[in-house]
């Protein structure tokens, strides 16, 4: 169970970080606000789950080496391109809904996370409706599909495939480090590494 929760928290932290890369440069103002707000929520979810797992959530979030993170490669990808970013948001939210639904009975905070995720799903679904027939979006979904499968457990992949409408393929599994993750890790941990000993916020 702790391994599952750590994967969830790492996914939420890292996708929050990646989504925040659109702050200030999203193609339209509404999306600048949306991505910033979604990122804030996701990082809040990560913190709540880290707090379940450790007395010091920041230490768990930022004091590990890159190879110790359990996040799915889908969230690690550095995608400063809108079609692929939206494809990832949509695939991630569909996968995340399946994974969170399975945790809600046992983990109270998962039910709270689920309430907030409703808005992320609506946002992703609105974009999916708009772009579903666009060739660029479709090819981005196809490219990211093996990564999306890696977000959920093997027994949940049939459901994900049915929801997304693409046949199951080999997943890019957790534990695989995307080459871009080391640079992200440097950036994520920079403030904590440079803080003077005993500094508090």
């Amino acid at each position: 169970m702790n391994e599952l929760l750590l994967g969830l928290a790492d996914d939420e932290l890292v996708i929050g970080w990646r989504d925040s890369e659109w702050t200030g440069i999203a193609p339209m103002l509404e999306e600048d606000v949306a991505f910033s707000s979604i990122a804030q929520n996701e990082i809040g979810h990560a913190r709540a789950v880290y707090e379940l797992l450790a007395a010091d959530a920041d230490a768990l979030a930022f004091d590990r080496s890159p190879t110790e993170y359990r996040c799915a490669p889908l969230v690690q990808l550095h995608l400063l391109e809108w079609a692929r970013t939206i494809a990832r948001r949509w695939l991630y939210e569909v996968a995340d809904e399946i994974r969170i639904a399975a945790l809600m009975a046992e983990v109270p905070v998962a039910a709270k996370i689920n309430r907030e995720e409703t808005y992320h799903r609506m946002h992703a679904e609105m974009w999916h409706e708009r772009l579903r027939d666009e060739p660029r979006f479709r090819s981005a979904v196809t490219e990211l599909w093996p990564y999306a499968l890696g977000v959920v457990l093997p027994e949940q992949r049939g459901e994900l495939a049915a929801r997304v409408g693409i046949d199951e393929v080999d997943a890019v599994e957790r534990g695989t480090l995307d080459p871009s993750f080391r640079a992200l890790h440097e950036e994520m941990t920079m403030v904590r590494r440079s803080a003077p000993a005993g500094a508090r916020w």
Partner: protein
């Protein structure tokens, strides 16, 4: 020695850090207050998990009720239905449309897309449309009133 009623009365005077027209009690985030032998134990539920106002709330409580130990409860006990009737009216007066009750949503995933349940806080018209699901804080969406041509913030139903 402090009583439970006194603690509640004090909490009613502590404003929400981001929406100061409502108090922590109006917002429904105080889950319980227990007083025994002069020690106060208080449970607080965050609205949204990523809301930075939580730390400010805890500090404000500790300042105003120095005997209090504040425990954060991250379960699913808070929803926007916990906002009191008085709190909803204060939000509306401040130009922030109160959240639609969860039961009025019908299909939960489409709540914020159905304009008929979202009334303009300025003119009362229901001829409003969604501009952005996301707004300046995690708890707010942006809407536009076609009747009085006024953009307004809508407290999200969760």
């Amino acid at each position: 020695m402090v009583t439970e009623a006194q603690v509640w009365a004090t909490l009613e005077e502590i404003p929400d850090p981001e929406i100061p027209v409502v108090s922590l009690v109006d917002l429904g985030v105080i889950r319980s207050v227990h007083v025994s032998d002069g020690a106060v134990r208080l449970e607080l539920t965050p609205t949204f998990l990523g809301c930075p106002a939580l730390e400010t709330m805890v500090r404000a409580i500790e300042e105003r009720v120095p005997e209090a130990t504040v425990a954060i409860v991250n379960d699913d006990s808070w929803s926007t239905d916990k906002i009191s009737a008085a709190g909803r009216e204060k939000l509306r007066k401040a130009g922030l449309a109160p959240p639609a009750p969860r039961l009025a949503q019908g299909h939960s995933s489409l709540v914020q897309l159905q304009s008929q349940v979202h009334r303009c806080p300025y003119c009362g018209s229901t001829d409003t449309r969604l501009e952005n699901l996301f707004g300046p804080t995690p708890c707010r969406s942006l809407r536009y009133c076609a009747s009085c041509r006024q953009p307004f913030e809508q407290f999200k139903t969760i």
